[in-house]
Symmetry: C2
Subunit: 150 residues, 2 copies
DNA sequence: TATTGTTATACTCTATAACTATA
DNA sequence: TATAGTTATAGAGTATAACAATA
């Protein structure tokens, strides 16, 4: 349990983090915005999956995931195969073009981070990753939170 | 200098952080979106300042800051006084209504964080804040980064 | 009836560019 | 001529709700 002062500071850091995300977004090819990149990255990391799983991992509504997926499918980076076990569902999988696109993304993000984090040690990066992971866990499935009225 | 694997993981955490920010946004009054809340919070923290300073602290373009500021000014939460020393400029300051709005924001965000971070120690929160602050410093003024073409 | 996924609509945030007023 | 700030426009991300197809 932390103090009020800490909450203020954390809220401020969270708010200011947008600038970092925008910095990362600026290096993306302009036909591959952050939503598309996120879909490709998840498929690379976790393998084939269905729409609903993508939405869960992105922590967005299924309708949002559907849009991002449609965009990368239009570019030929993934394919949507009907699930034999449930014809309502579609299984997403990376194409060869998708893997090539991932190489581009990977090269660019690595270059950016190598530049920005040139004076960070392995250990520091590990600590940050660990704490960020824990924070995400603590927030859990955020989408269920009820919006407070004015 | 960290390894490729670390970069991947950090990029993933950064991407997934949006869910946390959206969770925080959901508790806001609907006439006070994140941009407005950020302006009020900065004025509370750093005191009166001009437009350009707000934009710098938010790490957004001045046009964006101008919109957020106009919104909170329309609600009567801040006032824009002409700067006697430079009539092009305007100095922003919180009104009594603004301070009351900040009380509301503070209560809500504290409640949310107290819930989400109930099992975090003071020390852990401090570590996270320190590392996030350092990360922001490492990225510096992100807005100058050149966009890469497709 | 319930669930998977798509689409239409609306809102927030953001950057670029054109513009006004002042330095 | 350069700078502070405003506004119009456009693009990306998101959520809600209505809908189609299938379970």
């Amino acid at each position: 349990m932390a103090t009020q002062r800490h909450y203020d500071e954390l809220a401020r850091q969270l708010s200011a983090f947008g600038a970092i995300k925008r910095d990362m977004a600026r290096i993306l090819p302009h036909d591959c915005p952050t939503g598309s990149a996120a879909v490709l990255t998840l498929l690379k990391r976790y393998g084939d999956m269905r729409m609903s799983k993508i939405a869960e991992l992105l922590a967005v509504d299924v309708s949002v995931a559907s849009r991002h997926v449609a965009h990368v499918a239009d570019r030929g980076w993934i394919e949507r195969h009907p699930d034999p076990a449930d014809k309502r569902s579609r299984i997403l999988s990376l194409t060869d073009k998708g893997w090539k696109q991932l190489d581009v993304l990977n090269e660019r993000s690595t270059q950016l981070l190598a530049d920005r984090l040139s004076d960070w040690s392995d250990d520091e990066v590990n600590q940050l990753i660990a704490l960020m992971t824990r924070l995400r866990d603590s927030f859990g499935d955020c989408r269920t939170t009820t919006r407070t009225p004015a």
